[in-house]
Amino acid sequence: MSDIPADAVRLAQAAPTAHRVRGYWSAVWNRLRYDYVTLLFLALIVLIVLSAIFAPYLAPLDPNKSSMASRLKPILYKSFILGTDEQGRDILSRLIWGGRTSLLMGIAPVFVATIVGGFFGVLAGYAGGKLNSAIMRTMDVFFAFPSVLLAVAISGSLGSGLINQMITLTIVLIPPICRVAETATTQVRTMDFIDAARASGASTASILVRHVLVNVLSPVFVYSSTLVSASILLASGLSFLGLGVSPPTPDWGLMLSTLRQSIYVQPLVCALPGVTILVTSIAFNLVSDGLRQAMDVKA
């Protein structure tokens, strides 16, 4: 299982060095549009996301319709393009539907954690002093747990299920994001242009929005994007341990786990959920890397 990228601090320390308010995003786009690999994998992600969203229209068959007569059939058996699982359900349809849960597990916790962690990070960074200590020392306690251990501990305590898994992943992801946001904010805060803005009479709120947020946003965003793949892998690992979503919900990690029993019957078909997770994870990793480069956040 991939761990949460550990270079959070360095990533943030190396954050913004200049005003990047105007023209920044167009520069990013300019860099990105010639980065064909990132674009290619971005297209792949868009494809996966769209197929998950439009699962009801795209899935060739009912993902929950089982049939004992057609269990564990090979690829291209009759109408089952990617074969069937241990209950005779269409693998392709389940993979498409499973994308909903699995992508949700990758994206939703990162999204929530980015908002929550980002908020506390910016707050701590901007306020400094005691508030900073209070927030950051609390985060430090969570940092004392390797992510997998923390996830297993929380998940093992809360029990299995979709909501519990999301809560677990969110809690695991908040501290590193918070730390990145805090470091970036602290750095931005001490920069000259903030003082200049203050001197020119700008309000705290406007400083926060115009300068701090904008300059903090890109490292946090880039860092968060690297977490999507980690979150997907972590979620599938929890499912594998029986701490994930409940069946019969189609979910890649769960499919991988249950099909393991049938691997001697249909090795190829049973490998598909693993391959799907791998490919998706690679895609997110490459795209987040491309973004990092395009947004000129130094790593």
């Binding site: 761990d3 306690v141 992510s147 599938s236």
Partner: protein, 318 residues
Amino acid sequence: MWLYAARRVLFTIPIGLGVTIICFALIYLAPGDPVQSLLPPDATANDIAQLKHYYGLDKPIPVQYILWLGHALTGDLGISIQTNRPVTDEVWRALGNTVSIATISAVLAMIIALGLGIVAATNIGGWADRLATAIAVFGVSVPTFWLAVVLVIVFAVQLGVLPATGMGSKGSNTFSWFEWSEARYAVLPIVAMTLTPLGILMRTTRASLADILSQDFIQTLRAKGLSETAVIRHAIANALPQILAMFGLQLGYLIGGSILIETIFTWPGTGFLLNKAILTRDIPLLQGTILVLAMAFVGINLIVDLIQTLVDPRIKRI
């Protein structure tokens, strides 16, 4: 620097306390009854109450925490409900088994990553760089537990060359790293464990080396007529603190996050113990294992930080 070191050490105390609170609190989120697994399905409520009293699980939670913390500070983590043996002994034994494969995996990952990283950083954009980077991306993207299952099927079941499960032919008590008939049991777990840190360390090595190689002083060295090997050696020396720091983190992650690999290979380390504790709701064992793992992680981070300060005095943290 000594001041920094002292502060850094002191700083771990509140963290450690926070960790104990989290460890303790987590367990009480749990559904189900902790003594249930000891009882037959038709045990009476009275039997359960009696057993809970025996294990002190009927006291108020804050009281349980204080008692537990007091004991924990003296190295007594309680008695495992399942095995009736001291948790400290259980975790200590398991920790050794985990640390050994985690360290070997981390070192192996480090060696390969250094090699790949150097090749990649000195051939940016070349085919060797791309291959090395592809390996790294695979490493950080693959679900390692899935890879572990595949390894078992290929090497244990189909080829029959390595064992599928366990630690040693007679259990971990008689395991030896110096006899192939025993050490072969560790091969697949190590391979499965190596891949992720390999990817991350390769990434760090490549990035830091490439960074240093592009700096002015390297040009100066080259201009002075130093051989390319000497230049690279110089660059590596400069990148080392960073790589070492990452190595320490990865080692910590491997030790703390071994649950999936150890569960699949029935490797009797802390991750395996953790899984058993979750399955059997063995509260003292679960608390003890999580606590020790978190503390180990804190300790490794501390050591890494101190070493980094030592080798790289430029780092001055608050």
